[in-house]
C-alpha cells in the first residue's frame, strides 16, 4: 500500500503546485499589466512627439521601459506612413532600440523572445534590420522564421523574396505567412515569383502563379499560359484563374482548350476565367459544359460564367426544356440581382 500512499501524496503535491502556479501567474500578470500601463502612459506622448517631429530624441531608457517604448513605437509605426514612419525608424535606430532587438533575435535562447524581436523589428519598419531578419529565416524555430518572414514583408525587403518563396516547398514557413509577405512586397516581388514558379512542388508552383495573378498585369499572361499544361491539376487550375485575373484577352484561346481538361475543377477554373474576361467567343463551349458536364461543380462554374457574359442568353437557356440545374441556379441568381462576385 506504500505505492498508493506515495501516489496520493504525489497527486496532492502536484495539485498544490498547479494551484500555486495559477495564483502566482494571475498576480504576476496583473502586476506586469499595471506596471506596463503606467510606463506606456508616460511614454506614449513622447512617441507621438517623435512622430510629429516636435522632439528629436527620446530620453535614455533602460530595462522594462525600453521594451515598452519599443513596443509603442512598433504599434505607432504600423499606423503611420511616409516621413513620420521614417522618423520612428530613425529614432529607434539611433536610440539603440533596433540593435537591442537584433541582439535578442540573434542571441536569445528562447524561441518566443527571438520571434517577438523579429516581429518588433518588422513593425518598426527599419531596413537596418533586413540582414538580421534574412539570417533569421534559417532559425531552428518555425515561429521565428514566420515572424522574420512577415517582418521582411513589412520592410519591403525584396532581396529576401527568393529565400521566402523557397520555403513554399520546404514548408519552413507557413504558406499563409509567405502569401501575406509577398503581397506586402507588391510588384517588386514579381521577378522572384516568375523565377520561383517553375521550380518547387505543385503547391509551391500553384501559389506562385496565383500570386502573379494578384501582383502582375496582362503582360504576365504569356508566361502563365505554359502552366495550363502542367502535370499537376492544381497548378493548371491556378494558372487558369490567374489568366482570368490578369485580363489578357490573348489567353482566351488556350483557356477555351482548358474547358476540355480531364480534371473537372480545372475546366471549372477555365470557365470562371472566361467569365471574368467576358469572352463571348466562349459562349458555345460554356453552354455545352453547363448542360452536359458530368461534374456538377464544373457545370455550375460554366453557368455562372455564362451569366456574367450574357445574362439574357442565360435566362433564355434556363427557361428552355431540359435545362440543367446549374443554368436554373445561375438564372435565379441573376433574377435576385446577383453581382459578378456572387457569380464567381
Amino acid at each position: 500500500m506504500t505505492i498508493v500512499a506515495l501516489l496520493g501524496a504525489g497527486a496532492v503535491a502536484l495539485g498544490l503546485v498547479l494551484t500555486l502556479v495559477m495564483v502566482v501567474r494571475r498576480l504576476v500578470v496583473r502586476m506586469v499589466e499595471r506596471r506596463d500601463a503606467r510606463i506606456a502612459a508616460q511614454l506614449r506622448p513622447i512617441a507621438f512627439s517623435l512622430a510629429l517631429d516636435t522632439i528629436s530624441s527620446p530620453p535614455p531608457l533602460e530595462g522594462r521601459a525600453a521594451i515598452v517604448f519599443t513596443r509603442i513605437l512598433g504599434e505607432l509605426s504600423v499606423a503611420l506612413r511616409g516621413d513620420a514612419r521614417e522618423r520612428i525608424a530613425t529614432v529607434a535606430r539611433t536610440a539603440g532600440l533596433v540593435d537591442r532587438e537584433i541582439r535578442t533575435l540573434q542571441r536569445s535562447r528562447r524561441a518566443w523572445r527571438r520571434a517577438a524581436a523579429a516581429s518588433v523589428l518588422g513593425r518598426i519598419a527599419t531596413e537596418a534590420a533586413a540582414g538580421a531578419l534574412i539570417g533569421a529565416l534559417a532559425d531552428p524555430s518555425r515561429d521565428v522564421r514566420g515572424a522574420a518572414t512577415l517582418s521582411l514583408g513589412n520592410i519591403r525587403a525584396v532581396q529576401a523574396a527568393p529565400s521566402i518563396l523557397a520555403a513554399l516547398t520546404t514548408r519552413a514557413v507557413p504558406r499563409a505567412v509567405i502569401v501575406r509577405t509577398i503581397l506586402r512586397m507588391g510588384a517588386p516581388a514579381l521577378p522572384a515569383l516568375r523565377a520561383a514558379a517553375p521550380v518547387g512542388d505543385a503547391q509551391a508552383r500553384a501559389t506562385c502563379i496565383a500570386l502573379i495573378g494578384y501582383l502582375g498585369d496582362a503582360s504576365d499572361g504569356r508566361d502563365v499560359l505554359g502552366y495550363l499544361d502542367d502535370p499537376s491539376a492544381n497548378v493548371r487550375a491556378s494558372a487558369a484563374r490567374t489568366l482570368g485575373r490578369l485580363g489578357s484577352r490573348a489567353t482566351v484561346g488556350p483557356l477555351l482548350a482548358s474547358l476540355n481538361d480531364p480534371a473537372g475543377f480545372v475546366a471549372g477554373a477555365a470557365a470562371e476565367a472566361l467569365g471574368r474576361l467576358r469572352a463571348r467567343v466562349a459562349i458555345p463551349g460554356l453552354f455545352q459544359l453547363a448542360r452536359t458536364s458530368g461534374t456538377s461543380w464544373t457545370s455550375s462554374a460554366a453557368a455562372h460564367a455564362l451569366a456574367r457574359i450574357d445574362p439574357d442568353a442565360t435566362r433564355r437557356a434556363a427557361a428552355a426544356w431540359g435545362a440543367s440545374p446549374a443554368l436554373h441556379e445561375a438564372a435565379d441568381l441573376l433574377d435576385l440581382g446577383a453581382t459578378p462576385s456572387d457569380l464567381s
Binding site: V4, A115, A118, L150, L333
Partner: protein, 467 residues
C-alpha cells in the same frame, strides 16, 4: 492485495499516466500558441485574396427559438468570403417560417455540387437581403442526413458545420481556418473549442459578457468541457491522434467528406465516426494529412441544466463512442494507423469506453471488499483519496491551462468558483457520469438507437429538440 484490487489499481495508474501525458502535451501546445500570438495578425488573413472561401452548414430541427439569432450571428462573422446553408431537417415547428420572415427568403433553384445520398429536398430558398444565405427545406432524416444535404449544396471547397443553437465568436471562423491557410494540401479537418454559454450575456447573436452559469450542474460541465477540450483535444491533436471534432463546430475539406461518403446516418456519434473514417481512409491510402484542433476559436453552446437531459446527452455520446469504436475496431492497437492506432484508439477503447464500467465495478468491489473485511478501512480510504486526488489534480491542471492560455473568465471570483468545482466534481458528479455511461452500454446491448431528448431554453428564447 487481491488480484481484482491490483488490477483496479494498475488500471487507475495507467489511466492517470495517460491523463498526465496529455496534460503535459497540452501545456506545451498552449505555450506555443501564446508565443505565436505575438506575431500573427488576423487582419492579414482577412485581407488576403488567397484566404479560401467557406460554406457554413447549420442543420436545424425544431430550432424556432434560436435559429434566427444563430443565423444572424454567423452572417456577421469576420471572414472574407463565405456562404451560409441552413438545412431545415423536416422541422415540425415554425423554424422555416421564422427564417423566411427574418431574412426575406425567396424560392430559388440551387444546383447541388455533391452527390452524397440524403433525404429528398423539398425546396430551396435564398435571402433577398443576403444572397449568401441559402435555406434548404428537406424531409426529416436526422442530423447526419442534414449535414450530407448541406455538403451537397455547399459551393465552396471547405465546409464548416455548426449546430443551429450555438453562437460563434466573431473571429472563430478565421481562427479555426488558420491551419488550412498554413497547410492547405495537408489539413483535411479542424475543430475549435466549445464553451458553455449558460450564464453569459448574449446580445444580438454575440456573447458580450462571459460569466459562469448560476446552476451547479451547468458549472460542473464548464469544468468538464475545459478538461475535455483544453487537455484531451489539444493533447491528442499534438500527436496526430485527434479522434473527435465536435459536431457543434468543425471545418472539413469538402472533397475529403465526399471521398468517404459523408456522415453516417446509422449512428448517434456521427461526428466522431466521420473523423475516424477520415483518419482510416487517409492512413490506408498512405496519404499525408493532418486533422487539427485549434484551441482559440470559440463556439458557445447551451448545456443541459437538468439531470434527465444531461443523462440523455451523455448516454447518447457514450453510445456513439461505442458504435464508432466497434465499426473501426481493426484500427485499435494496429500500427498501420500510426500513433492513432497504437495510442489513440486503445486509449478510447480501454479508458473512455470500458473506463466507466471498470470505474463502476471498482467502486463496487472496493466497497464490498471493505465491508467484508478483505480490505481494511485504511486501504479503502487510501484508494478513495488517490482516485479523487488524481481527479482533482487533472481538473486543476485544466483550469491552470485556461488561466495560462485564455483567461476567458476574467474575475477572480469565477476562477475561485471553478476551483471549488474542480474539487467538488470528484465527489459525486464523476461517479454519476460513470453510471450513465454504463447505462448507455446497457441501452446499446438492448438495441436502443434513438437520439433521446434535448429540450432547450434556446440562447435567445425557448426551444426543444427531439429526433
Amino acid at each position: 492485495m487481491s488480484a481484482a484490487t491490483a488490477f483496479i489499481l494498475g488500471y487507475f495508474i495507467v489511466l492517470n499516466l495517460f491523463y498526465l501525458a496529455l496534460t503535459a502535451l497540452a501545456w506545451r501546445e498552449v505555450a506555443r500558441h501564446l508565443h505565436a500570438e505575438a506575431y500573427v495578425d488576423e487582419q492579414d488573413a482577412l485581407s488576403s485574396p488567397l484566404t479560401p472561401p467557406v460554406t457554413l452548414i447549420l442543420p436545424a430541427y425544431n430550432e424556432e427559438a434560436g435559429v434566427v439569432e444563430s443565423v444572424r450571428s454567423v452572417l456577421s462573422l469576420r471572414y472574407p468570403e463565405y456562404e451560409v446553408v441552413v438545412v431545415n431537417d423536416g422541422s415540425t415547428d415554425t423554424t422555416l417560417e421564422e427564417l423566411r420572415a427574418a431574412f426575406d427568403l425567396v424560392p430559388v433553384r440551387v444546383a447541388p455540387r455533391g452527390s452524397i445520398p440524403c433525404a429528398e429536398i423539398l425546396a430551396t430558398y435564398r435571402s433577398r437581403r443576403d444572397p449568401n444565405l441559402v435555406v434548404v427545406d428537406k424531409v426529416n432524416g436526422g442530423k447526419a442526413d442534414a449535414l450530407n444535404c448541406g455538403a451537397n449544396i455547399a459551393r465552396y471547397a471547405y465546409v464548416c458545420v455548426i449546430d443551429a443553437d450555438t453562437i460563434l465568436e466573431e473571429n472563430a471562423l478565421i481562427r479555426v481556418m488558420k491551419p488550412v491557410f498554413d497547410d492547405p494540401d495537408l489539413v483535411i479537418a479542424t475543430g475549435g473549442i466549445v464553451r458553455i454559454a449558460n450564464g453569459c450575456r448574449i446580445e444580438h447573436g454575440r456573447v458580450t459578457d462571459v460569466a459562469l452559469p448560476r446552476g451547479r450542474l451547468a458549472t460542473m460541465q464548464v469544468m468538464e468541457y475545459l478538461r475535455a477540450f483544453l487537455v484531451g483535444r489539444i493533447g491528442w491533436s499534438s500527436v496526430a491522434s485527434l479522434l473527435i471534432i465536435s459536431g457543434a463546430f468543425g471545418v472539413f475539406k469538402r472533397s475529403s467528406i465526399e471521398e468517404v461518403g459523408g456522415w453516417r446516418t446509422d449512428t448517434v456519434g456521427e461526428d466522431m465516426e466521420l473523423v475516424c473514417r477520415l483518419h482510416r481512409r487517409a492512413r490506408e491510402r498512405g496519404d499525408r494529412y493532418r486533422i487539427v484542433f485549434v484551441a482559440e476559436p470559440v463556439c458557445w453552446t447551451e448545456a443541459p441544466e437538468t439531470l434527465r437531459l444531461l443523462s440523455s446527452q451523455r448516454r447518447r455520446w457514450q453510445r456513439g463512442l461505442a458504435e464508432t469504436l466497434w465499426r473501426h475496431r481493426r484500427m485499435i492497437g494496429n500500427p498501420r494507423y500510426g500513433a492513432l492506432g497504437i495510442w489513440g484508439m486503445p486509449y478510447f477503447a480501454l479508458f473512455e469506453l470500458a473506463g466507466p464500467v471498470i470505474e463502476f465495478l471498482g467502486y463496487v468491489i472496493v466497497i464490498a471488499a471493505t465491508l467484508t473485511g478483505v480490505l481494511s478501512l485504511e486501504v479503502f480510504a487510501l484508494f478513495a483519496l488517490l482516485s479523487m486526488g488524481l481527479g482533482i489534480v487533472l481538473s486543476v491542471a485544466a483550469l491552470a491551462l485556461e488561466e495560462l492560455g485564455f483567461r476567458r473568465y476574467p474575475t477572480e471570483r469565477s476562477m475561485a468558483r471553478l476551483f471549488m468545482y474542480a474539487i467538488a466534481e470528484n465527489l459525486g458528479y464523476r461517479q454519476l457520469l460513470a453510471f450513465w455511461r454504463v447505462r448507455a452500454l446497457i441501452d446499446l446491448a438492448r438495441g436502443e438507437r434513438h437520439w433521446g431528448e434535448m429540450h432547450r431554453r434556446g440562447l435567445g428564447g425557448i426551444a426543444s429538440r427531439k429526433a
